[in-house]
Amino acid sequence: MAEKILMKGNEAIAVSAIRNGVDGYFGYPITPQSEVMETLMKEKPWETTGMVVLQAESEVSSINMVYGGASCGKKVMTSSSSPGISLMCEGISYIAGSELPCVIVNVMRGGPGLGTIQPSQSDYTQCVKGGGHGDYHCMVLAPASAQDMYDFVDWGFELAFKYRNPVIVLADGIIGQLMEKVELRPVKPRRTEEEILRVAPWATTGKPAGRERNIITSLSLDSTTQENFNKKLLAKYESIKENEVRFSEYMTDDAEYLFVAFGCSSRICEAATDILRQEGIKAGLLRPITLFPFPEKEIARLAGQVKSIMSIELNLGQMVEDVRLAANGRCPVGFYGRQGGIVFTPEEIAGEFKKFNNLK
């Protein structure tokens, strides 16, 4: 039987990085995710797998270390929380513009500004729509458990290298801090130099005789070249939308009402769904696991089945815009959220649900 260990979501990220053959982690301390780097430093993977772990002087620097490491075809990652992610947005834009693979973990806290260190989901728009300058998308994965934190590191790198695109694991303070049983998957060794040459022939590994020099850049001064590149990115994003959407459904088969929620909110909505079902109300839940690509088709289909949809988020209403676009008028779409680190209870959501749907 696979080994199960009780650990925090943040610790799961670190343990998973070491066990999944990640080559480098570059970070800067920020609450509520500092356990990621602390765990890595404690584990000393440079003595076992050879993984590089480095505390940078800022998030600006750590994301640019990721940029440099990814340019070498290595599996590199960073983690931070909301204000730190804002600082990284320049680098993320360059990474997307240079078509480099990497994994970035955002353990969200409340904002704007310095905000609160309590959990929040208010970086949905920043991470899903872009964040930095220019037309680009990161693939965004939304974990809802410590096990997801562990599993999404490896899945993130798989996607990142498949599409040569940055991947954001969009967690929140609850998922980062909560302790749960985590099943350790089989170890994957780090890639050898030969494997890197095979999976990343574009990498800057030193130019041998007989191949063109590899140049990692996002610069194209010629407008036509830039437009063609933008169209190439668009085609990539369309392909991601076509092939990589992932979601889970709970009680949707006969649902007359639907919750849409991601991350920790989806778990609370599951409990709210149970409460409503006990009262004879046929509620169901769709949890987007990928936020980009967004499960548009599934929400559109369910919008034709249910009487209404409610988007439940720990913010002022960000994902609800995408839910409305997906529902496209097929049914009313409502929203309920809490902010500032306050987390709703299942009873609170059930109550708000009944208010929205005029149910007793």
């Binding site: 440099g68 800057t204 020099r213 850049t217």
Partner: protein, 259 residues
């Protein structure tokens, strides 16, 4: 001696380094960049490390350095080259990793990155082109612009009260324990270029000894930005820039001392 004779291999005394590409350089005539590129290409060629070298180009006129030297390149965001170089060297310790940065890139927007790369003692080489001006964006004040020097954002001359003082970042970096070799050179004469090349070579060699960061400042001309002819620009540099930025080694930590 007719043209054919000159082209005979036995008569060639000077040639383009093999690692300089055939791309037409966009640098202005008289600019120091071309010469420094050539010196770097010669060093890499002479050391036989083309397949082990990764260059990091900056934002600034030399953003296109990757078009001219035939090695693998990463093009960094403005000021961030030392962060890219840090990761590249740590993840690929057998590689020779160097950044090529101007004064705006290194001494203004990228001060945090260069200071901490130096402080950590990253085993990389930094080539720092100091011409006291932002060339690519059209001649604005740089952190290294001399007092009284006219630029498009100091049209009446740099005034310490208004714009602060010129930043001698090279001396600052020499104070950091992680730096192995800090020198200031120029390429305005053949003799100076030879010294600069030796300094670059020493930097590349040091970067494989694990003794810390090597930093080679090249005091350079920007005749377009300075609005001087190439000859006048060299003269102005000798008389004014060298007074503030004197040439020579500032720090050379020998291997014995480090051990």
């Amino acid at each position: 001696m007719d043209t054919l004779d000159i082209k005979r291999p036995e008569n060639i005394v000077y040639r383009k380094p093999a690692l300089i590409t055939d791309n037409v350089m966009h640098y202005c005539p008289g600019c120091s960049h071309g010469t420094v590129h050539k010196l770097i290409a010669e060093v890499i060629e002479e050391m036989g490390i083309q397949d082990k070298t990764v260059g990091i180009s900056p934002v600034g006129c030399s953003v296109f350095a990757y078009n001219y030297i035939d090695i693998d390149w990463q093009e960094a965001a403005h000021g961030r080259a030392p962060a890219l170089a840090t990761a590249t060297k740590r993840l690929c310790p057998d590689k020779y990793v160097f950044t090529y940065q101007g004064d705006g890139d290194l001494a203004s927007i990228g001060t945090a990155e260069i200071i901490h790369a130096c402080s950590r003692g990253e085993n990389i080489v930094v080539i720092f082109i100091n011409n006291g001006i932002y060339g690519m964006t059209g001649g604005q004040m740089a952190p290294t612009t001399l007092l009284g020097m006219k630029t498009s954002t100091t049209p009446y001359g740099r005034d310490a009260k208004l714009n602060g003082f010129p930043l001698k970042i090279t001396e600052m970096l020499a104070a950091l324990d992680g730096t192995a070799y800090i020198t200031r050179q120029s390429v305005h004469t053949a003799a100076a270029a030879r010294k600069a090349k030796n300094a670059i070579r020493k930097g590349f060699e040091y970067s494989h000894l694990g003794i810390g960061l090597s930093f080679i400042e090249i005091v350079s001309t920007c005749n377009s930005g300075w609005k001087l002819s190439p000859v006048e620009a060299n003269k102005w540099m000798v008389e004014n820039m060298f007074a503030k930025y004197p040439l020579g080694d500032i720090k050379d930590t020998s291997i014995a001392e480090k051990k």
